[in-house]
């Protein structure tokens, strides 16, 4: 973890010994407490004891290893394709700034597509095999890579661009000499967030009808009330994700990234002509509808389950039952937004707050980061029962699920953002012996803001995914429950109407975040707004 780098180098061996002892004892105590709680609540089938998990893994090593191999291979392929797509998208957006709004809108909409709709389509397109798993793993990561890399490609001082231009060099030189090096740390952040997400995407992808894998075993274990199996799979998923996370982080440190620069940029005029905003929105709408209809026609997907834009229009506007169907859909959306909003804000505040807290108390990172990764890499179907058991089926439980899914990417992105505080600025604060709180507020917080807004954007689709899953599994209300119900009764008209409406809500929320971002960053990080 990036924060570890800050520790003083004096007496490393002695320090390691001193640290190791209490850490080992703490871990043992935690395990003992876990074991005790599990044994006390054994009749309730809530928590599996560490000993049961160890026994299950020991007794089923072959099965688990084969399943892990299958899922890991799908996740790895999805990780490569998804990140490649994310980086390429960001490059295009920077090279052709006019396309950025359109690209980010499309990227957001595709990321919002729920599994109930994509699952059957991907399975029909690919047939048997791991195609859907790989695709869903890729879909789970490209967006969370696209956004940080986009920020990174702009995180260079204005003077450098002027220098490149004054020598008459091309945009390519600018890209390779200035932008890409500046983006590298952000690529690392993106890849770190992507690692658990790809694994989760591959696992969930197996819900679309797979022969084998950890996702298949999860479904089996949940239905069989086999708690040791469920928890063993969750432990393996979390462990693999932590290793991948640490591996990417180590790779990032090996790259010997250039220390952060002082980013000076002239203030930009953030006011935009009204008509250009409207024109961009219209263009985005037209392209979205064309892509939607065009891709379905291209693959000749039957209208029965792949509804076209005009089918949704008919369903919501012109068909005989349109009014009742609209009322049902908007009612559900209202219930959903009422919970998604607070969960979204709670997750962002928690993530950013933790990131800042960890700069003040870096040693806590060793405890916080693994738990965060675990929460992010285990499918909600496996964690939701535990959250429901602890917090109930009311609003609190749902908000907790949403916040849980959001705070990890926010935490990681903000941590990397904080680490981009220029050394020269920190030195200045040190010279004046400024307190760490003051330093955080005046130097590190402004450096974190671009990353924070990138995570606020990422969190929009994540919040939607989390709230709809919680509604489906626990509360039975809102648009998540509606989508689950209509999918099981082949009411694909309602399903695609719900998807369209969710997409629209996501785009609007995104526009709101972007507007806020422009206002704030025009004061603190003008380089992000220069086009």
């Amino acid at each position: 973890m990036t924060m570890g780098d800050a520790t003083a180098p004096e007496g490393p061996a002695a320090q390691a010994r001193a640290k190791l002892l209490p850490k080992g004892v703490g871990l043992l105590l935690a395990l003992a407490a876990w074991e005790a709680v599990a044994r006390i609540t054994a009749g309730g089938f809530v928590i599996a004891a560490p000993s049961e998990i160890a026994f299950y893994i020991g007794a089923n090593t072959g099965l688990l290893l084969r399943a892990l191999g299958t899922t890991l291979w799908s996740a790895a392929q999805g990780f490569v394709w998804g990140n490649l797509a994310g980086v390429l998208l960001a490059l295009v957006a920077v090279l052709a700034p006019r396309s950025e709004r359109l690209l980010s809108t499309l990227a957001l909409l595709i990321f919002c597509l729920p599994l109930v709709a994509t699952g059957p389509i991907l399975r029909v397109l690919y047939g048997p095999g791991t195609g859907p798993q790989v695709t869903l793993a890729a879909l789970a990561v490209y967006y969370t890579t696209f956004l940080p890399v986009l920020v990174g490609l702009r995180a260079a001082p204005r003077g450098w661009f002027d220098l490149v231009r004054s020598y008459g060099r091309s945009r390519w030189t600018e890209m390779f000499q200035v932008r890409l090096p500046a983006a590298l740390p952000y690529v690392v952040a993106g890849l770190q967030i992507a690692a658990p997400a790809a694994f989760l995407g591959a696992m969930v992808g197996e819900f679309t009808g797979a022969e084998r894998g950890l996702g298949v075993l999860t479904v089996r274990a949940l239905r069989a009330l086999d708690l040791p199996a469920t928890w063993s799979i969750a432990a393996i998923a979390a462990g693999v994700s932590m290793l991948a996370f640490a591996g990417v982080g180590a790779l990032g440190r090996r790259l010997d990234l250039a220390p952060p620069e002082v980013l000076l940029a002239p203030p930009t005029d953030t006011r935009r002509r009204a008509w250009s905003g409207i024109a961009e929105a219209l263009l985005a709408a037209a392209v979205t509808l064309t892509v939607w209809k065009g891709s379905m026609e291209l693959f000749a997907l039957p209208r029965f389950f792949a509804k076209r834009p005009e089918d949704v229009w008919a369903y919501l506007v012109t068909s005989p039952g349109a009014e009742a169907q609209r009322a049902r859909l908007f009612g559900a959306l209202g219930e959903t937004l009422a919970l998604a909003g607070p969960g979204y804000l709670a997750g962002l505040v928690l993530g950013a707050g933790l990131a800042m807290g960890l700069t003040l108390r870096p040693r806590l990172a060793g405890a916080v980061i693994p738990v965060s990764i675990a929460l992010r890499s285990i499918p909600i179907v496996a964690t939701a029962p535990l959250i429901v058991w602890a917090l109930g089926r009311g609003a609190t439980g749902t908000i907790a699920v949403v916040a849980t899914m959001i705070f990890f990417p926010t935490l990681i992105a903000c941590q990397h953002g904080l680490a981009r505080t220029p050394r020269a600025v920190l030195d200045l604060f040190d010279v004046y012996a400024t307190g760490s709180l003051r330093r955080l507020a005046s130097a590190q917080l402004p450096a974190m803001l671009p990353a924070f807004f990138a995570s606020a954007r990422m969190a929009i689709p994540a919040a939607i995914l989390a709230v709809t899953t919680a509604e489906w599994l626990a509360t039975g209300r809102g648009i998540g429950a509606l989508m689950a119900t209509v999918a099981s009764t082949s009411d694909y008209g309602m399903l695609w109407s719900a998807i369209a409406l969710i997409g629209l809500a996501a785009v609007l929320a995104h526009a709101l975040v972007v507007a806020l971002e422009r206002i704030v960053l025009s004061r603190t990080s003008a380089e992000q707004l220069a086009r």
């Binding site: 009749g43 309730g44 089938f45 809530v46 099965l63 084969r66 399943a67 299958t70 599994l115 109930v116 699952g119 059957p120 389509i121 399975r123 029909v124 397109l125 690919y126 047939g127 048997p128 197996e206 819900f207 679309t208 009808g209 797979a210 022969e211 084998r212 298949v216 075993l217 479904v219 089996r220 949940l222 239905r223 069989a224 009330l225 086999d226 000749a300 997907l301 039957p302 209208r303 029965f304 389950f305 179907v381 939701a384 029962p385 058991w389 089926r393 599994l473 626990a474 509360t475 039975g476 429950a481 689950a484 119900t485 999918a487 099981s488 009764t489 082949s490 009411d491 694909y492 008209g493």
Partner: protein, 329 residues
């Protein structure tokens, strides 16, 4: 569909290849054509008869090369059958009726589960033995299944407003944790899971209280019925032979399932228990007399009546017995 649509050339090539193979292996005497059977869930003994058909070569005997596609939580059966990637799907009359009401061109060509497996599972110290016992209870179920509960209440004169519905995921934990008094589930899965975990439970089969909905039904499109009849007959012939073997020895079917799918995380005792529990749902006096998968005008009429209560009105034409008549004829 672009992926699996068997083109004429592919078909001829396949025929030539199998014709060559026929010289070497006498068993493959007939030309093989390919078909996919879309299962409704992950591999388990629930589809034991199909595994027998595959492993004993009942389909190859009939001239068909069948691949089995497992289902899952996000793998509905209807889309691949509509798209043509699967020739036949394992659905249920209520799902099929809903899909047909949404414009899907399906026919039910066979019925594996004569009695619907839906049941109310409860614990012995607070049991639900009859629909009247539901009054004042908390029932855990997927909200999507509300029409099922409504139909049960209507048929048995129970006031549904007296029952508290708690939306839960499909899992026995809410019952054993005491969050609910009973669960709406299949008699062949969650109760089996509880028994395997040492939790005794009481099950009340909905089919014993007027809920007549054929389950594990074989569905095909009208287009397939018109243009791929031979393949449909071959597929159902293999199914019938496989399930006849299953009826004779469910334990062997359980053993075969565990052996064929070592990566599915199945254990033999659970599969044997499940295999036993589904026997009375699949085989009856009717199937003993007429053969596996059979249905009559009377059983169809009872289904139409229940489906009407479920809010999915259908015509008896949804059922098409012509394939089964060829198989058993």
């Amino acid at each position: 569909m672009p992926v699996l649509a068997p083109s004429r050339r592919l078909f001829i090539g396949g025929s030539l290849a199998t014709a060559g193979a026929a010289l070497l292996s006498p068993r493959r005497a007939m030309a093989q054509s390919a078909a996919t059977l879309q299962l409704s869930w992950l591999h388990s003994v629930q589809f034991g008869g199909s595994y027998i058909a595959q492993s004993k070569g009942y389909w190859t005997d009939a001239g068909l090369d069948v691949s089995l596609l497992p289902g899952g939580p996000n793998a509905p059966v209807e889309p691949p059958v509509v798209a043509g990637t699967a020739l036949v799907g394992i659905s249920a009359a209520d799902y099929t009726a809903a899909a047909v009401n949404q414009g899907a061109p399906f026919k039910i060509i066979g019925v594996a589960m004569q009695k619907n497996p839906f049941a109310i599972a409860s614990l012995p110290d607070n049991p639900v033995n009859s629909p009247a016992d539901l009054v004042g209870k908390k029932i855990g179920m997927a909200l999507a299944n509300t029409p099922v509960l409504e139909a049960l209440c209507t048929v048995n004169d129970v006031d549904i407003s007296q029952i508290e519905v708690v939306p839960t995921q499909y899992d026995a934990a809410p019952l054993v944790q005491g969050q609910v008094d009973c669960l709406l589930c299949w008699a062949t899965d969650l109760p089996v899971a509880m028994e395997t975990q040492g939790v005794e439970s009481v099950t009340m089969l909905l089919a014993d209280h007027g809920y007549s909905v054929h389950s594990q039904t074989y569905i095909a499109t009208e287009d397939s019925l018109a243009n791929r009849r031979e393949d449909l007959v071959a597929l159902m012939t293999g199914e019938v032979r496989g399930w006849e073997d299953y009826q004779a020895d469910p334990a062997a079917a359980a053993a075969l399932t565990v052996e064929m799918f070592p990566d599915a995380g199945l254990d033999l005792p659970t599969q044997e228990l499940q295999a036993d529990r589904q026997v009375p749902l699949m085989f009856s006096d009717l199937t003993d007399a007429e053969g596996f998968g059979w249905f009559t005008d009377e059983t169809v009429a009872a289904n139409v009546e229940t489906l009407d209560l479920l809010g999915t009105p259908v015509s008896p034409d949804l059922w098409d017995r012509s394939i089964l008549e060829e198989v058993h004829g």
